[in-house]
Amino acid sequence: MARIIVVTSGKGGVGKTTTSAAIAMGLAKRGHKTAVIDFDVGLRNLDLIMGCERRVVYDFVNVINGEATLNQALIKDKRCDKLFILPASQTRDKDALTQEGVGKILEELSTDFKYIVCDSPAGIERGANLAMYFADDAFVVTNPEVASVRDSDRMLGILSSKSRRATNGEDPIREYLLLTRYSPKRVKLGEMLSVEDVQDILSLHLLGVIPESQSVLNASNSGVPVILDEESNAGQAYMDIVARYLGEDKPHRFVEEKKGLFSMLFGSR
């Protein structure tokens, strides 16, 4: 049975797709067969972040409608043969995703895959609800900023009341906090909510902190998940997150401002 992870946030633009791409690649690189699914029907972008936008033939909705098989629609990553991408459809039909259809696809994937990463769209409409409905684990991506923290809290409420696990009275979804675009420098100046502040408010288990980093934009520019940029802070932070998720004990990094000679000479990447 696969473990289903939803990457969610409520608010847009906080790094859900970046995180989905990085986490999926990280799990696959560790040798686990992983599928990453774009639930943002009508506004597909995971393909672009993964760098496979020109290889999309069939999509999620085609499979639901029986117009293609799952194997036809899954795109095998060129850098890691354990990773497969299921792109979203560009249809403007809001009702294209159905709970039954999504459930069937996830069930089929579960027999063959170890992890299924569901990249949720922003908002709390159908795509977002279906992305989290079947989840076992939730990665709540949050920026240290008021609107994002508030929306994350809203999502936590929805996760605990509207998911399959909640409806069936099973063990609740395991929820983890991923704090992205973190700037230790601004936190020190009192201009940004700290990790502790956000944890105080959301009371979530912290899986990791991703520092604000130029490498994230560089990675998306070139269609390479940032976790493959092993030199970058953000890439290393995502590697730590994958390791922690898999049960390894890794101390948190990038939470304090770096003061070493190296960073003074080369700056933070």
Binding site: G190, E191, M192, L193
Partner: protein, 91 residues
């Protein structure tokens, strides 16, 4: 201290702590009202309208709370009446 100084001082207040305070209040409020049915705000308004016919109170004096236990729901209604003995019109 001039008015200008006042604005300068408030500008220097750390915004992160302001953000945290605002969020803590907001999130606590939203969590408490999360599981309440959507008709509660309107119920509160209509109750207020009825009570105002007889007693002079405002919206803050009415609190409506729905608590859910395993096997029962309790609708708690709390109305704070004014101190002074105002004439109460009874029809």
């Amino acid at each position: 201290m001039s008015l200008l100084d006042y604005f300068r001082a408030s500008k220097r207040q750390k915004t992160a702590s302001v953000a945290k305070e605002r969020l803590q209040i907001l999130v606590a409020h939203e969590r408490s009202s999360k599981n309440q049915p959507s008709y509660l705000p309107q119920l509160k308004q209509e109750l207020l309208a009825v009570i105002q016919k007889y007693v002079n109170i405002d919206l803050d004096d009415v609190s409506v709370n729905l608590e859910q236990d395993d096997n029962q729901e309790i609708l708690e209604l709390n109305i704070v009446l004014p101190d002074e003995d105002e004439p109460v019109k009874v029809n």
